[in-house]
Amino acid sequence: MPRPTAVEQQLRARARELLEKREVAGVLGFRAGTLPGTCVPFLATEPGDADRLVLNRDCAANLAAWLPRLRHRGRIAVVARGPDSRSIVNLVKENQVERDRLHIIGVADPDDTQPVRNPVVFDEFLGERAPDSPPDDYADIREFEALPPAERWQALLDELSRCIRCYACRQVCPNCYCPTCFVDASRPAWVGRTPDPSDNVLFHMVRAIHMAGRCVECGACAKACPIGIPLMIINRKVSLIVRDRFGSVPGTDPDAPLPLTAFDSEDREEFIR
């Protein structure tokens, strides 16, 4: 086992304290996975569990995804990096998580490729704040958009045709908490069950639309994908649309309404006849 970092030491001590004093029913964080270089979400419920908590760049999941299903467990402390905290902001707005039943332990995201590394909301902060990342220029998306439409279609079709419809992307996503997902509904069966390219494209396009105004670009879906489909290109396009059209960056403002549940009578409608 590598030596714990300063933040990990602080985190373990604080988790132990919270659990010993029974201030929370559990501390949601990460522990090392069974394979080297992996981490898995972990709910520490006993003071003795605290020393298993880790925090490093291998912590790929978005912990907010586990909060709706922990609602019946009482007060929960959650380790929140930038993306986790942005998702918590969204889940509170969507009434999936009660803010006053959470204790948010803010930490800087060890992953320096994240656009927002520091938590947006927290009750206490451990360690050093990360330097602010430069504003996102979405250069990757603009580069892809410069391709002719037929090439864009072929590139996305090629990638999405590889999808085996395991729905790992959905399972790790904090936005996907519907009791019955539209792809699982059987009456009517909205989307074909087969990994046919046309069903795959339909699934991924509708998934993208469901992310609009909600995706915080944590990248958990792309990291969970067993065959490495670059899902972030689709998610980031949706984020760019929402930013350009509605001036909204999901999860950064606890008081702003979700952009697709709100409207402005002056919204641009150049595409409507």
Partner: protein, 160 residues
């Protein structure tokens, strides 16, 4: 949805006559289509109308599903901004359609495959004009093939 759609490709009879699914809101555009009808205004018989209570009822999924199931184009039409029977349904719909419109473009789906319009109950002529325009645009694009389910086309070809 769309279970009874004829899967025979629209090109079978020679000239391409587009099949367009039109989602019309009950209060404005459907009434506008009705007015076009009772006024005997001529427009191409290319649209299959699905009456919906409000343009806000149209999930972007319906539009994509129609294209997958063999529609060559989709038209969504509702009340003009400010005229929604439910006050704000079309404003909320407008944001959803904006996201869908931009996403379709990103995926390389031809602009014009999916059209949006506002048509009031008093605009019979305008409704006919919208249908003419949308039909011509889709006719020029040819049969939809990018989102369409190839299995349906193959099945139709096997059936002759």
């Amino acid at each position: 949805m769309m279970a009874d759609t004829n899967p025979v490709p629209s090109t079978v009879s020679g000239d391409f006559e587009p099949r367009i699914v039109a989602f019309l809101c009950n209060w404005c555009s459907y009434a506008g289509a009705d007015l076009a009808g009772i006024s005997r205004i001529q427009y191409p018989p290319s649209i299959r109308v699905v009456r919906v209570p409000c343009s806000g009822r149209v999930d972007p999924f319906y539009i994509l599903k129609a294209l997958q199931q063999g529609a060559d184009g989709v038209l969504v039409s509702g009340c003009h901004p400010g005229d929604c029977h439910y006050l704000t349904g079309n404003y909320v719909a407008r944001r959803r359609f904006a996201v869908l419109h931009d996403l379709l473009g990103f995926f390389g789906i031809e602009p014009g495959r999916v059209s949006f319009s506002w048509v009031s109950a008093a605009e019979g002529e305008r409704f006919a004009e919208v249908v003419r325009e949308v039909t011509e645009r889709v006719r020029a694009l040819g049969p939809s093939n990018r989102l369409a389910d190839a299995r349906l086309t193959e099945k139709a070809e096997r059936a002759g």
